[in-house]
């Protein structure tokens, strides 16, 4: 089995499909031409750069370079958590919570996957570390962003009920227990949905990639099963951790509700 190397003519043929978008936008006056062009150029530049950087990392095999790339990925994921907040959570606090959570979860889940499940040799090879870390971060960041958003919005809405419990002598975690579990539940919906629907509606990207690259479908399925378990575990850990951080953000050491820390929009 050999994979088919793609040449620039193939890429150009694919890019011509974008013309459909352009024609539709023009015909129906959607005014999206500019956005389509920018998004397409960004996508090409980002994926091209990623492919190039990964090629260097794989060839060099230097742990320092791998670590640097992993750190950049974690920082970018934290940034994504912060920009997805709508409930008025302060930008830098959510950036810190997102980055800290994803750092911890990303490292633990990646190490566990590589050393205990897949047993890659050598486990620190960039070829294994970076794609797996990327998948974990992508899923966990969705969970973290949802958890923080939901928690902040629920607590703002349920302010009187939560303060009533605080006034009666409840600790911050007791007073927020309902909001806390609701936020974690919301944060886990995407990963649970994708676990239930996978293989029926669509083949997951990693499995598709493996099959296109010539792997046995049953082998690809086994890998995908492992990845789904890892992703759900990592998301659950990230959701719980970020919810706990969120409670600390919304209260102080005297267990007082501190909604004054939110940006008022």
């Amino acid at each position: 089995m050999t994979e088919q190397p793609l040449n620039f003519v193939d890429l150009a043929a694919a890019a011509s499909l974008l013309v459909i978008n352009g024609v539709l936008s023009w015909a129906f006056r959607l005014g999206l031409e500019r956005s389509i062009a920018i998004a397409a150029v960004r996508m090409v530049a980002q994926l091209g750069a990623v492919g190039f950087v990964l090629k260097i990392a794989f060839e060099q095999g230097s742990p320092a370079l791998t670590t640097l790339l992993a750190a950049v990925m974690i920082l970018m994921a934290g940034l994504e958590v912060a920009t997805r907040q709508e409930g008025g959570a302060p930008y830098w606090a959510t950036y810190g919570i997102g980055t800290a959570t994803l750092f911890f979860v990303g490292i633990i889940a990646t190490l566990y996957t590589l050393r205990a499940i897949i047993r890659a040799e050598p486990w620190f090879s960039a070829r294994y570390v970076l794609p797996i870390l990327g998948m974990i971060l992508g899923n966990a960041l969705t969970a973290v962003a949802l958890v923080l958003n939901t928690l902040v919005q629920t607590v703002s809405r349920e302010r009187t009920a939560i303060e009533a419990r605080i006034a009666l002598g409840a600790t911050r975690f007791d007073a927020m227990s309902t909001a806390l579990s609701g936020a974690v539940r919301t944060g886990l919906i995407p990963v649970l949905n994708s676990m239930a629907a996978t293989g029926v509606v669509s083949l997951p990207g990693m499995m598709t990639g493996q099959i296109l690259a010539g792997a046995e479908p049953t082998e690809a399925a086994k890998y995908q099963i492992i990845i789904m378990f890892v992703l759900s575990g990592a998301s659950a850990l990230a959701a719980t951790l970020s919810a706990i951080f969120g409670v600390y953000l919304l209260t102080d050491t005297r267990h007082r509700l501190r909604l004054d820390r939110l940006r008022h929009s």
Partner: protein
């Protein structure tokens, strides 16, 4: 003894006063003069520089929840975290059940109210249930924010009777009220807050304390 020293609440000048066991301090003043903020600061629900101590123990010496177990703030607009009224009370042990029934009877509430959703109760019923909820674990200081504001005359009299009973049981009461008759009947001392002349009122209250 509840002792407040140089407590800074919002834009008010620093407040100092003492309330002994079994005594009631009435806090008066126009809307927006900081009455609610003062009660919240005493219960340590908002940040406020200065000192608040109960029987010699400053609030910061205790964890926040432990302080609020002793010093109970009862909001004029109580919050409810469960759908059913009864789920806001720690029931199950005989003593708590008996106490709950006794308090409900004393405020003219049917025990069957506990099995109804909070949303179906009237404002007056909710106000009284919230008061009972706050007294169930017998706090030492009770900070009442307009406890009778939403009640009819009959229910208000029952609440006033309950407050008097709490004072007899050596509890300390700080009462915010717009009802002069109620203040007249319950208060041992008064504190007047106002947008203007607040300092004078404070000094007057301070002199009254020293007498």
């Amino acid at each position: 003894m509840l002792k407040v020293e140089k407590l800074k609440v919002g834009g008010l000048p620093p407040l100092s006063f003492e309330v002994a066991r079994g005594e009631c301090l009435a806090v008066e003043g126009p809307s927006g003069s900081g009455k609610t903020r003062l009660l919240r600061a005493i219960a340590d629900l908002d940040e406020a520089p200065g000192y608040v101590s109960l029987d010699g123990a400053e609030r910061r010496e205790l964890p926040g929840p432990a302080w609020r177990k002793l010093v109970r703030y009862l909001s004029a607009e109580p919050g409810w975290w469960a759908a059913m009224a009864g789920d806001h009370f720690a029931r199950g042990n005989e003593e708590a059940n008996a106490r709950l029934l006794r308090l409900m009877t004393s405020l003219g509430l049917e025990p069957a109210l506990l099995d109804r959703p909070v949303s179906e109760l009237s404002t007056g019923q909710r106000t009284r249930l919230a008061l009972i909820r706050g007294l169930m674990d017998e706090p030492r200081v009770i900070l009442l924010d307009e406890p009778t504001g939403a009640l009819d005359r009959e229910a208000a009299a029952l609440v006033a009777e309950l407050i008097r009973f709490q004072l007899l049981a050596e509890r300390i009461v700080v009462l915010v009220s717009h009802n002069p008759a109620e203040i007249e009947r319950l208060a041992h001392q008064r504190l007047l807050l106002g947008a203007t002349g607040a300092r004078d009122a404070m000094e007057a209250a301070g002199r009254e304390l020293q007498r």
